[in-house]
């Protein structure tokens, strides 16, 4: 995994998630998207659209079934980007 690539993605995700959820808690790689941020389906769709537009990728839905934390999401994006 390309480190700078991953870091860039992580930074963007944390920024977006912080504003999306208005949560007081700081978003970290270990943050659980479901239990800690309560990302509902509409917020999730918005987030995916932003990610896809920003990185010019397409996230397959089968992959999201194995994503629970910010780190897992960042890893997924990074991997899709590198195979793109």
């Amino acid at each position: 995994m390309n480190e700078s690539n991953y870091d860039e993605i992580m930074q963007l995700l944390c920024d977006r998630l912080n504003s999306l959820t208005n949560s007081e808690a700081t978003v970290t790689p270990e943050t659980n998207l479901i239990s800690e941020l309560s990302i509902d389906s509409i917020k999730l769709l918005n987030l995916i659209m932003e990610i896809e537009d920003t990185f010019d990728i397409s996230i397959p839905i089968n992959a999201l079934a194995d994503v629970q934390t910010v780190d897992e999401l960042a890893g997924l994006i990074s991997r899709i980007k590198s195979t793109h």
């Binding site: 239990s35 629970q68 890893g75």
Partner: protein, 605 residues
Amino acid sequence: MSSTIAKLNAPLTQAFDFQPSSELLPTPTRNTLTQRLAGFDTLTNALEYAAQGNTGYNFYDAKGRLRSVLPYSSLRNKARALAQHLAGFNLDRGSRVAIIADTSPEFIELFFACRYAGLAPFAMPVPVNLGSHGVYVQQLKGMLDSSHASLAFANLDYINFLNEAAKKSATLKWIGTADQLEELPAQEIEPQSNQPDEVAYLQFTSGSTRMPRGVVITEHALMCNLQGIVRNGLEIRPGDRSASWLPFYHDMGLVGLVLAPMVTQLSVDYLATRDFAIRPLQWLRLISRNRCTVAFSQPFGLKLCTMRVRESDLQDLDLSCWRAAGIGAEMIRPETLRNFAEKFSSAGFNSSAFLPCYGLAESTLAVTFSKIGNGFDSIQIDSKTLIDQRMAVKLQAEGRKYNEFVNCGRPLPGHIVKIVDENGQQLAENKVGSVLVQGASIMTGYYNNPEETQKALKPNNWLDTGDIGFLYEGDLYITGRRTDVIIVNGRNIRAQDIEELAEQQPEVRSREASAFGVNDADGTTTIVLVIECRLTAISERHSLIKRLQQLVYMAFGVSCIVELVPPHTLPRTSSGKLSRFAARQGYIQRTNLNNELSVVESGDR
């Protein structure tokens, strides 16, 4: 994480290596063939006819580029070829075949291959929620088990989930992709013609995760429903063209937007459900660009479009071609339609295209249609009379509280709708009660599930729809669902499934959890889970709430409110059963929620 990456390798490579031919053109709208409106006795006969023309199915990607084209002529040839490979399994006629239904040509090819081989296909869903891996596998397993499926198909994206789900299956003889099927030896068969009384397919509904219910639909029931839809509901004519984002594993997507176009030899333009959900405007762009005339959506889909559109998007759209904007599959709120019409009128959308309808998988798809071309019609009903007397009376005076309901129209020919009370006695017009349907489109039952079948099919084959409503001047109005199904963002969720999730927690005893939906003023539904709880430590209570919210999210993709109450708070019926209706009333009182139409939606099944 590393296992996730390993699993992703294959499908991703495939997805990105695909380069569409620059010469790819969609199938035309105008057919070379004389149109026949579902005048066939079986699906394969309908396809044999459609294959003589030049129309068919077209698949678009998230950016609106045409990715593959499947003319009916190619579909027929491909399906017949695949059927010969299926014949190699020597299965009994009517054996069930499970197919994970991505929006792809492969699904349709396999579906028709099954029919040519005399097998009964059924569509299984794709996973849609974050972190849903485990729950999704359980869901597939439930369907494979309850259908006694002999074969199961998935494309590369989903085959790993399918393999996991099939691990302990006692009935499955083979699992694989369509490509793998083609590598198996073919057996020369002269396809026997199917009979109208044979099973055409199974349709899984929102049954519980552990024991889902597979609706059994015969060729005859299917064709009766299709005839009603295309002749009476939509008045299909040459020059029509459809566009759809509806999943192939839902009755509206499969029957309404895959089979109905085929039996009328129309072309269809598809967008994957996921792509629609992320960029709903792509669906409208398809309609606009390809001059589509017929496109259906749940109200939630229209809401998404209204929410996401920007003024700049509107300039490029011309929706004046859209003459049948079918709306169904969940309660229709007039506001949703008005907002959509207001937003898109400048893009040429004509509100007379709105076509509210009512139906359910147990009646193949459609039960009633409003009159095409008239737009939607609604009435304002006096709230007090509705709640006190369970009767629909038009609002007489200004200033009184009212509820507005959308007219869902009249039953298709050969079908009757009646409203009954709790004892099954037919009610007069304007009285609110359970909606029952009788007619040729009704299922023969739930597959291998006499208990559930008996609950749904009453004497003389009256289907209890599980919905509540009234008839007014002969038209059907739906006022609510029974409390056993909660509809959130267009998805049906069984209250029982949520309660079972809760009861699997060590802190929660059986029959001490109750789940229901509450609506806010703009019609958004939120799931509430009330738990009788003995925990006293705040940290333990907090941990239980968090865990339950996470479990519900992973299973159903929705957030929920969890309320912990002292033991014996939840109201029970005389038999000791929890009453969701009463639990909901109690919650509403505790939280002072207003505008709740609780009495109208009563009736635990």
